[in-house]
């Protein structure tokens, strides 16, 4: 049986795993990809490849935030689900996994953000 290639380089995995969940933070909206993220979910020192994987996780989680499933992923549902499942194994302590459901306040903020573009 072949083992799946690790998503994160070891140095990135360690950076992500060392992040500390801060429940007092407010969400930020990425107007490019249409997802929420919190600043304790992004290490300050990480490679572009590492950011790429986090970006996949943020988009996958945004489906949950909108009451959707992986099959609703706009680009590649199978790939997205595979990355998500593997990330749970590789970076179980990533603070982002603690935010699979939004508070009422955050839900309101997200709905407002999705209504119109915030990049131009």
């Amino acid at each position: 049986m072949t083992q799946a290639k690790q998503l994160f380089k070891e140095i990135d995995r360690e950076s992500v795993e060392s992040l500390v969940y801060d429940p007092s933070l407010e969400p930020n909206y990425n107007a490019l990809a249409g997802h929420l993220m919190w600043f304790d979910e992004l290490p300050s020192h990480i490679t572009s490849a590492g950011i790429d994987v986090l970006s996949s996780l943020w988009v996958a989680r945004s489906l949950m935030h909108r009451g959707l499933t992986f099959s609703d992923h706009p680009v590649n549902p199978e790939y997205s689900q595979r990355v998500w499942k593997q990330a749970i194994q590789e970076i179980p302590n990533w603070p982002g996994f603690q935010r699979l459901k939004l508070s009422v306040e955050d839900q309101k903020y997200y709905a407002e953000m999705l209504e119109k573009n915030h990049f131009a």
């Binding site: 490019l32 706009p74 131009a120």
Partner: protein
């Protein structure tokens, strides 16, 4: 063309951090210039040295964006576009008007607040962030995974007026003294507006997000040569090949 990391005056050094390191490196260069005979001599500014010092210390601190004439549309959180400016008599006319005169026709000047800068380097990779002071939702994040390529990772204009995204992107790059050389990748353009446009068959150059990037490029003295969609795993990106104007 490589990623630019100008230090020798391509952009004026405005941020406190930038000034500080220039002063520091200037002093270092002057004090360390000693001839084999032991005579202290003043040496000319060495951009390569300044550049390597900049890479070591990174760009941080605050940056005052270049003043760009922007006018808030009447009753809206939106700045006037070129066509609307023409309808009000043109840019020169609006620029020459006092605040009171502008208020008389329902307009108000808008200036982008200071930017707070953060940067990180990982081998040859560079990652930059710029946060709009006083607006904790407005920020930008770009990475430079290889020479000549800039990846736009995050952008949000927060509560700034609609139409300010391009200026935010351009000023963030100027503030960090870094420019894309060959291409910009707009990563994961799956926001509702772009997705809808793509589903309707919009060409990449006709999406609003590409329009924003194109305006920013113009401000930076670049032009877009081609646009294309690119699917990479679960990502849908827009790749813009660029060159100097």
């Amino acid at each position: 063309m490589a990623v630019f990391r100008p230090t020798g005056g391509r952009f004026p050094c405005k941020s406190a951090g930038c000034e500080a390191y220039e002063k520091l490196t200037g002093k270092l260069i002057e004090k360390l210039a000693v001839t084999p005979e032991g005579l202290a001599v003043k040496v000319p500014r060495d951009d390569k040295l300044l550049d390597s010092v900049a890479k070591m210390v990174g760009r941080s601190g605050e940056y005052l964006p270049e003043r760009k004439p922007m006018f808030l549309a009447p009753g809206q959180n939106k700045i006037l576009n070129e066509r609307e400016i023409e309808a009000f008599g043109g840019l020169k006319k609006l620029e020459s008007m006092t605040d009171g005169e502008l208020a008389g026709i329902g307009l108000k000047r808008f200036e982008m607040p200071k930017l707070k800068l953060e940067s990180d380097e990982f081998g040859n990779e560079i990652s930059i962030k710029a946060f709009v002071k006083g607006d904790n939702k407005a920020w930008i994040h770009a990475s430079f995974p290889q020479q000549g390529t800039m990846v736009l990772e995050h952008i949000n204009i927060g509560s700034m007026p609609e139409g300010t995204g391009a200026h935010l992107l351009a000023e963030a790059l100027k503030a960090h003294g870094i420019l894309p050389g060959d291409r910009i990748i707009l990563k994961t353009v799956v926001n509702p507006e772009s997705l809808q446009a793509i589903k309707e068959g919009a060409l990449p150059q006709n999406t609003l997000i590409s329009g924003m990037a194109g305006k920013a490029l113009k401000q930076l003295g670049f032009k877009a040569n081609s646009y294309r969609y690119e699917q990479n795993g679960d990502k849908l990106n827009i790749v813009i090949e660029i060159s100097k104007q």
